[in-house]
């Protein structure tokens, strides 16, 4: 079982750059907790002081909407990690986590984690590196989102075709910036589709002028004496006006 845990820790974002021997130690120091169905693991507003790895079973992450009804934000299952940020910032929990089924989770306490940090000076650095990678990733995506917003505002949707693979590649990533970007992308695609739809509804009007008839009618009007006089007078008038 501990090797599963090691595997899971390796996949957790903040441990990405932490060496395996340390992770093995972390795995040993983590404690196992069994949850009954509907048991509350984390309560919103409590101080967060541990990280949980789900080993077996499913949990739901819930919050309460404005009407007081439970709102499920997400469901997590085997191999997924919950509350990792609490290890570093110790902030209060932002949502409640309840077991959907009988479950088994591993808990890594903040104080245990801090012990390891103190003993091994390379661990904080590795964690900082993981975070800065993530930050850079997020910043790049935010910059993209800004760029795309401006383009969308100008009606330039050319990026929709070009960027697609990049976003879909990021689809598996649980990073929120990547999720924002794919949601943004989906939105723009919908907007574009709707706009194209509207454009297609505009009809094009085509007309033909019968040039022979045009000439014939013109000749009829201009062949009278009245017209010849008028044309002469109009020319004189315009000359007079031009001279002011």
């Amino acid at each position: 079982m501990k090797s599963d845990v090691l595997n899971q820790l390796q996949k957790t974002a903040i441990f990405k750059n932490v060496s395996d021997d340390i992770l093995a130690e972390v795995a040993i120091k983590a404690s196992t907790r069994k949850l009954a169905k509907d048991e509350v693991l984390i309560r919103k507003g409590e101080k967060g002081d541990s990280l949980f790895l789900i080993h077996d079973g499913w949990v739901k992450i819930v919050t309460v909407d404005s009407k007081g009804d439970e709102l499920i934000i997400n469901k997590c299952g085997p191999g997924e990690t919950i509350g990792e940020m609490a290890l570093l910032d110790g902030e209060t929990r932002s949502a409640t986590v309840i077991a959907l089924t009988e479950s088994e989770v591993l808990e890594l306490k903040q104080d245990v984690f801090e012990e390891i940090l103190k003993q091994r000076s390379d661990v904080p650095l590795a964690i900082i590196r993981s975070y800065s990678e993530r930050l850079r990733f997020s910043t790049t995506y935010i910059e993209k989102a800004i760029d795309w917003s401006q383009k969308t505002a100008e009606g330039d949707y050319s990026f929709v075709e070009q960027i697609q693979p990049l976003v879909e590649g990021a689809g598996s990533n649980d990073d929120k910036a990547a999720q924002l970007l794919s949601a943004f992308f989906a939105m723009v695609r919908r907007v574009k589709e709707r706009e194209d739809g509207l454009k297609q509804q505009l009809e094009k009007l085509t007309f033909e002028i019968d040039q022979a008839r045009r000439k014939q009618e013109f000749d009829e009007i201009t062949s009278t004496e009245f017209y010849a006089n008028l044309k002469e007078q109009a020319r004189a008038l315009r000359q007079k006006r031009a001279q002011g």
Partner: protein
């Protein structure tokens, strides 16, 4: 000195919106601070004066009286700025320099006038005198549809001719002849305006196609609008509903008129 410009509004077919356009254009140009005159060519059936909220019984002498030497131009000019009444939009014209010059050169009277030898030069003198006496920047003439002799006179005397057309084959055919006539009579500024365009058409495309066919600028495409049809004679639409698409497009035409050197 020929200071003011004569602007004729014409269309091949009747009911294209000449009177509405003329009244609203004149109002917009007056709002821009210009001194404006409007020759109302139709005082029998609902014409321009109705759009300005005027009762024909209040209007005494006409351009015809002037042309026959029976009235001075001063007596004919009816100040809208002083008599603007009824309607939120029209009220905005209070104090503006806008005059209406009633005339009824149509039907029986036109033949009478032609018989009496009132010709192009006389009409033109009358218009020039109107401009000078009232120190006008613009004198708008709402003409009659088609290309009868009276209309040809108006076209021949224009500094600016605005041809209104409806976007359909029949009207474009007729308009093509008017465009040729205007060029033959050396009208210096020929502007096109589309009215009653169904909103389902692509206006950008429409503008391009018409400009292409006639080699003249389309200064505005005004949509067919039930709002306008419902409101038209109760008030000056573009003053009453300045944010309406019809009004916005009309102001574009007014801008094109003001831009002519």
């Amino acid at each position: 000195m020929n200071k003011g410009k004569i602007v004729s509004i014409h269309s091949f077919r009747g009911g294209t919106g000449k009177s509405n356009t003329t009244a609203n254009l004149a109002a917009q140009v007056a709002m821009a601070g210009k001194r404006v005159g409007v020759v109302d060519t139709d005082i029998q059936s609902p014409g321009i004066h109705v759009l300005f909220g005027l009762d024909e019984t209040k209007m005494g002498k006409t351009m015809n009286d002037f042309l026959h030497g029976k009235a001075t131009i001063r007596e004919i000019g009816f100040s809208i700025g002083e008599h603007s009444s009824g309607g939120e939009g029209r009220a905005k014209l209070a104090g503006k320099n806008l005059w209406l010059f009633p005339s009824s050169i149509r039907g029986r009277e036109i033949s009478q006038i032609l018989k009496e030898g009132i010709d192009f030069n006389l009409l033109n003198e009358g218009l020039q005198k109107t401009i000078t006496e009232f120190d006008l920047d613009y004198l708008f003439i709402d003409t009659h549809p088609g290309l009868n002799e009276e209309t040809l006179l108006s076209i021949a005397t224009s500094d600016i001719l605005i041809i209104i057309l409806r976007p359909d084959n029949q009207d474009l055919q007729g308009t093509s002849v008017t465009v040729d006539i205007a060029r033959s009579l050396d009208v210096p500024n020929l502007l096109l305006m589309v009215n009653k365009a169904l909103p389902k058409y692509d206006f950008v495309e429409l503008k391009r196609e018409i400009e292409d066919k006639f080699n003249a600028p389309v200064t505005g495409i005004l949509p067919l609008s039930f709002d306008l049809a419902d409101n038209a004679s109760n008030d000056l639409f573009s003053l009453r509903f300045p944010d309406h698409d019809w009004s916005k497009a009309l102001r574009g035409v007014a801008k094109a008129v003001l831009a002519v050197e």
